[in-house]
């Protein structure tokens, strides 16, 4: 982002009645199928996105930097205008946010997993035979609400053997090491303080783990708990401070609600489908001036490596575009948080198509919304962190810089 940071944008931003809709089609970018030579977006029939692209300025955006494959957290933070190299969310906090847990300021979170230990305490299975989420939930209940020396522990089931542990208390430090040795044949490690101020919390976590071992002893194969990635709830400036917006998030999946919460968005209750999300947008349209809508389906089909289903998911997204344009937002942004080519079955570094529609966008000659057409778009190739300043500019929500 060069010298342009959130402080700079904060200096210039102002509240106006105009509205911005940011539609994030997760994992939108792709790679060509070897037979057709066309990407998922180039294969999909998307008349509504194409028509919108014709009235928009288009381009390609790099979530982090050329060549860097973004995870969901940096991909979204960049779209929200937060430099994802500066603004980091640690593993533990992300795990808790990913299950929609409302972390409070000062909370520490760690990623945990139930495991199997033998009679000598050595780890024989780091995943406890992949016990079900249901079993895991029962074990979490046993460990929940333990309080040691004024620190409260919340054990939260995630999926299968995975869980998150949240620590709440006064002045806690997250500068403690993992208990998870990340290999079998070893005993769980004692948690160590990385700085002297963290000694108290290290001792408390070790006490908690001794308790956990006693409680879990009867529940083999899940007879122990391993913890790693302790860190604090992220303390980022909120979007309402930076942009002076009243922002709302509409996301079916908890992880994305968690990311929106990290930048201070209001989280709107919604259902599981794209149609539910659009209904939520309509119901709440009057009450906010910025909407982040997250669509998961496209990324999931890319991760599956299912080219045809990803094409269908993109066509599904296309069908709801008229319902968004009918609301007449002043600015519409359509893009992804990263590419998820079916050919790669995972996130990739390829830059992501982006369109910005507004009355003032200075539309280019891009006639279709896909990777190759966007290459010659008027936006050029931009870092994803430029998208929010551009959306704000197009909404006439930024004052002039300098006289």
């Amino acid at each position: 982002m060069g010298n342009i940071d959130l402080e700079f944008i904060k200096e210039l931003s102002k509240t106006t009645p105009s509205k911005i809709v940011l539609l994030v089609v997760d994992g939108m970018g792709g790679l060509p199928d070897s037979r057709s030579g066309k990407t998922e977006l180039e294969t999909a029939v998307t008349p509504n996105l194409d028509a919108l692209a014709q009235k928009s300025i288009c381009g390609l955006s790099d979530p982090v930097s050329p060549g860097i494959t973004a995870g969901s957290a940096p991909g979204h933070l960049a779209l929200f205008g937060y430099d994802p190299v500066t603004y980091r969310i640690g593993r533990g906090a992300l795990e808790a946010m990913g299950i929609d847990y409302p972390l409070q300021p000062g909370d520490i979170a760690a990623r945990g997993n139930f495991c199997t230990i033998d009679k000598d305490g050595l780890i024989t299975d780091r995943r406890a035979g992949r016990i079900s989420t249901e079993e895991s939930s029962k074990l979490c209940e046993l460990l929940n609400n333990i309080k040691i020396d004024g620190v409260c522990f919340f054990a939260l089931p995630v999926k299968d053997h995975r869980m998150a542990l949240v620590l709440r208390g006064d002045g806690l430090s997250c500068q403690i090491s993992d208990s998870d040795p990340q290999q079998t044949g070893m005993a769980a490690l004692k948690v160590r303080a990385k700085i002297s101020d963290a000694q108290k919390i290290a001792d408390i976590v070790n006490k908690f783990l001794e308790n956990a071992r006693k409680i879990l002893a009867a529940y083999s194969p899940a007879n122990m708990l391993l913890l790693r990635g302790f860190d604090q709830k992220p303390q980022f400036p909120s979007m309402s401070e930076v942009y002076k917006l009243k922002p709302a998030a509409i996301a079916s999946y908890p992880m994305y609600r968690g990311l929106a919460r990290a930048v201070g968005m209001n989280i709107l209750k919604t259902g599981l489908t794209i149609e539910d999300e659009i209904a939520t947008l309509k119901e709440n349209y009057k009450n906010y001036d910025f909407f982040f809508i997250h669509i998961k389906e496209t990324d999931a089909r890319g991760e599956d490596g299912d080219f045809t289903s990803k094409v269908k998911a993109l066509e599904h997204v296309d069908k709801i575009i008229p319902e968004i344009t009918a609301l007449k937002p002043d600015v519409i942004v359509v893009t992804g948080d990263h590419s998820t080519p079916a050919m790669i079955k995972g996130h990739s570094w390829h830059p992501v198509p982006v369109l910005i529609y507004s009355e003032w966008c200075r539309a280019d000659n891009v006639g279709q919304f896909n990777e190759s057409a966007c290459t010659s778009g008027g936006l050029g190739r931009i870092p994803a962190t430029d998208i929010m300043p551009l959306a704000m500019a197009n909404a006439l929500k930024l004052n002039k810089y300098g006289a």
Copy 2:
């Protein structure tokens, strides 16, 4: 500018006989007229600019960063290669520079306005009924050349009720607060020191304002003076240090001469028209190796919201291009300091067309000089601060970096 700063360029720059002409067509970029779908530049008949573009490398440039609308000062500093977020010119200094006042190193300047106060000293009109520039000039004469404790005060009329105040003395600090409360119904504020070193100057300015109040008492409605935005003459490295150039500025409007002066250019005396400016270029062509030529008309017509007149102003610029090319400068740059679309009636964030002509430019396929054609130019979309290094390179004035 990423990692490239003025120190870096200074390391590499060298003096050669080659010459660079930078033609700044103020507010050059625009937006399409809703009927024709064409911008001002796309509408204008500009055969000479188009012919030059065909021999040049073209692109679009962002004065500050995508989405940021630049004022004239940051827009020009960026074109001169000075990162406009790092190199800032405060309000007071800009006001003095804007009336062509040659600030000296160490000078402090403030923006002032004559106002009306009632018998209790409360402000009733912050603009003193918008007295004429003529009246304002007379009042400035009364306040001019006051000297208090070794500090000299120069009162300079600007326009209507607006004036600038310059303070000259040894070791002055500009870390003092405004006397202008920026609202009526209040008394003028005492100027306060923001740091302890500024106490002396705060006391002196307060004495000056007491004097001013006595002197102006008889001149209602302009019976008091308000001051704000105290700051120092900008102390930037000069273009001759950084680029080892002998630079000259040709600008009809005082503000742009002021900006050129801030980076150490020699200011050439010129007339009010574009033709006067070109005559000045010809007369002085032998004596300098860098020329900044500023054209105001285009921006003024954009600010007026007069699409047709802006088109004519661009066609006027086109007519003088052959007079510049006839001089055979080694490098010609044509661009703007920001966009001023007639549709917006003001500065905007849209990136600005830029062409760089030289024997070594590696011309692209851009056949016309306008926003949409430049989108596919070989320069791509660049920050405006890249333009000077590119001009220097094309003039073969930069040494190789590293072995």
